[in-house]
């Protein structure tokens, strides 16, 4: 959301902090980040196990532990996301930005092009942003809604293979496996989706730090404290 105040020039109103990210959104953000971290590390070692441990099999449970951690983190990831969807309904307007792209608004597209230009060094103008700018919002939508859903569906479909046919996970997500061309392909897409998520993480962290340093509004402190603050009193 861009804030184009009608008032031109300097004004105290332009520096007024706004409460943007409510507590559940912030808590979800950090839980989501933590679960992604655990899921990526454990997931990678499930696909590419560590060098073998010696001794009796009964003395070790290394892969079992990785898988267990992966499943626990998957539940955090999934339940967190469900609660986040709920919060989109009851939270403030910024809580909905992740889920609904206002593609029917011409202004949104204009702002999107502006953001692309801004990050492409084609303009020096930066808009003050309250919630997410259209570029960030699109990235959030594709990576944190679509990709997250894809990871949840494929993940639980694979999880259902262990629980067995007829299990709740099989009934809810088992359809994904034939759709994606079998168990091995599902695993491959799940792994590919992880890499895409990592691409997002790299860009997201960079953008957040960059925005904190170079843009006109707070970024990192906002996802910690919830308040959007501004560095100047211009519109």
């Amino acid at each position: 959301m861009t804030n184009k105040a009608a008032v031109e020039g300097h004004s105290l109103a332009n520096i007024q902090p706004t409460y943007v990210f409510e507590a559940p959104v912030r808590i979800w953000h950090w839980l989501h980040a933590l679960s992604i971290f655990v899921l990526c590390v454990t997931g990678y070692f499930i696909a590419y196990p560590l060098p073998s441990v010696g001794g009796e099999a009964s003395n070790h449970f290394l892969m079992g532990t990785f898988r267990w951690l992966h499943f626990v983190a998957a539940y955090v990831f999934t339940i967190g996301f469900l609660v986040r969807i709920y919060w989109a309904f009851v939270g403030n307007r910024y809580a909905r930005e992740l889920f609904v792209l206002p593609i029917h608004k011409a202004e949104w597209w204009k702002d999107l092009i502006h953001e692309v230009k801004y990050y492409g060094f084609m303009t020096r103008k930066s808009h003050k942003i309250l919630g997410h700018n259209p570029l960030a919002q699109s990235a959030m939508f594709f990576f944190n809604v679509i990709l997250t859903l894809f990871l949840i569906v494929t993940g639980f479909a694979l999880y259902a293979e262990g629980l067995g046919q007829g299990s709740w996970a099989d009934k809810m997500f088992g359809w994904a496996i034939p759709l994606l061309g079998g168990s091995l392909n599902t695993k491959m897409w799940h792994l590919t989706a992880m890499w895409l998520m990592l691409v997002f993480v790299v860009i997201h962290i960079y953008m957040a730090i960059r925005a904190d340093i170079m843009s006109r509004e707070s970024s990192i402190s906002t996802i910690i404290g919830g308040w959007r603050m501004y560095k100047d009193d211009l519109p």
């Binding site: 449970f61 103008k125 792994l191």
Partner: protein
């Protein structure tokens, strides 16, 4: 109408004793995962029901399904089953040949219209109007359609009939096509595997003719009784997997100790079949037991999924090039990191130049 003989009568004519017959019934009930009381149900069904003929067609295939079938671990079972089905039509197993053999098909349609089971081994190639597989002067696909029109149900034997198998591998020059994509108006039971396990084949066929019903199928049309679990779920090397003990190379200490073959490409964790429980050759062994990973031969597209010795499958990138998911992922993540670094550098440069021009950043 003339008396239609029962399975039991046919078996007796073929010299199967009553004792062998009952043993076969118990064995089949056990093989199908049913309780002991079902042995008598099977016996009763075979004694009273008129025999359902089975027509066994061969399309584009290697006959490994038949080879597996006639080596059914329990000679008893194979004798019994063969006496039940070879009577009608199986161009590999029957004595008749040429026009005589082809006539049998028409006779079966006449006598048992809508009442016989069509077992298909192999698949029809569809390119060039099916000219890549000609039988009795006509394309196999026409024979298949003709026989399917009059059958009660179809068994798709093996990975050829179920999925396409190696002859359907990219670029699939003959357009070999699995049966369910050619015949859409009949119930089809897929019994994949290259070949399927003999006891699975005899089990499925006995279930269908004894109970006059399809076995319960999973989402992909495979009988649940044999294909509801992965090899991995019942693998005797599973404890090594959970412990984190893997064969890294086929000549290492782990291989000698019988560790898990996951890291040398075993597809057990993604393959649905009964190998780890029924095993092969009368329960003698199966791939993992002999020290080699599963190739995943019962899974769709197993022939086009990259190396048999890699746990991660390949994907197609940029048209025809192939790379595994992690190579693609590492390239993407690497590109993102480089892009971010470049953007950061550009940001610093632009910031500095803005400053030197004493411009206000935000106008």
């Amino acid at each position: 109408m003339a008396h239609r003989e029962t399975f039991y009568e046919v078996m007796r004519q073929h010299g199967i004793t009553r004792r062998s017959f009952l043993k076969f019934c118990s064995l089949t009930a056990a093989g199908l995962g049913m309780g002991p009381e079902f042995a008598m149900k099977i016996a009763h069904a075979l004694e009273t029901k008129p025999r359902t003929p089975v027509i066994w067609l061969h399309g584009l295939e290697c006959t490994c399904c038949t080879e597996s079938f006639i080596r059914s671990g329990h000679p008893l079972a194979s004798d019994v089953i063969l006496s039940m089905i070879s009577l009608d039509y199986d161009d590999t197993l029957m004595a008749a040949a040429g026009h005589q053999a082809e006539e049998l098909l028409e006779q079966t349609i006449e006598k048992y219209d809508g009442n016989y089971i069509l077992a298909v081994e192999g698949n029809p190639p569809l390119n060039e109007d099916g000219m890549y597989c000609i039988q009795g002067g006509q394309p196999f696909v026409e024979k298949l359609r003709h026989m399917a029109d009059h059958c009660k149900a179809i068994i798709a034997w093996g990975s050829c009939a179920s999925w396409g198998c190696v002859q359907a591998a990219r670029p699939n020059p003959t357009r070999a096509t699995p049966v369910h994509k050619v015949i859409r108006n009949k119930p089809i039971v897929k019994v994949p595997g290259c070949p399927p396990i003999a006891e699975v084949m005899t089990g499925v066929i006995t279930y269908m003719i004894a109970f006059d019903a399809l076995p319960e199928l999973d989402r992909q049309g495979r009988p649940k009784m044999f294909y509801s679990q992965r090899l991995h779920d019942k693998c005797y090397r599973r404890p090594h997997f959970d412990a984190g003990q893997f064969v890294e190379r086929f000549d290492d200490e782990g291989a000698r100790k019988g560790y898990c073959l996951y890291k040398v490409g075993c597809k057990g964790p993604t393959t649905y079949n009964a190998c780890s429980t029924l095993e092969w050759n009368d329960g003698l062994s199966w791939p993992v037991k002999s020290g080699h990973g599963c190739l995943g031969c019962a899974e769709d597209d197993f022939w086009d999924k990259g190396s048999f010795y890699s746990a991660v499958t390949n994907m197609k990138v940029m048209g025809s090039a192939e790379a595994d998911a992690d190579k693609v992922g590492k390239v993407l993540a690497g590109a993102a990191a480089i892009g971010v670094a470049a953007h950061a550098a550009a940001s610093v440069v632009s910031h500095m130049s803005d400053k030197s021009r004493k411009e206000v950043r935000h106008d």
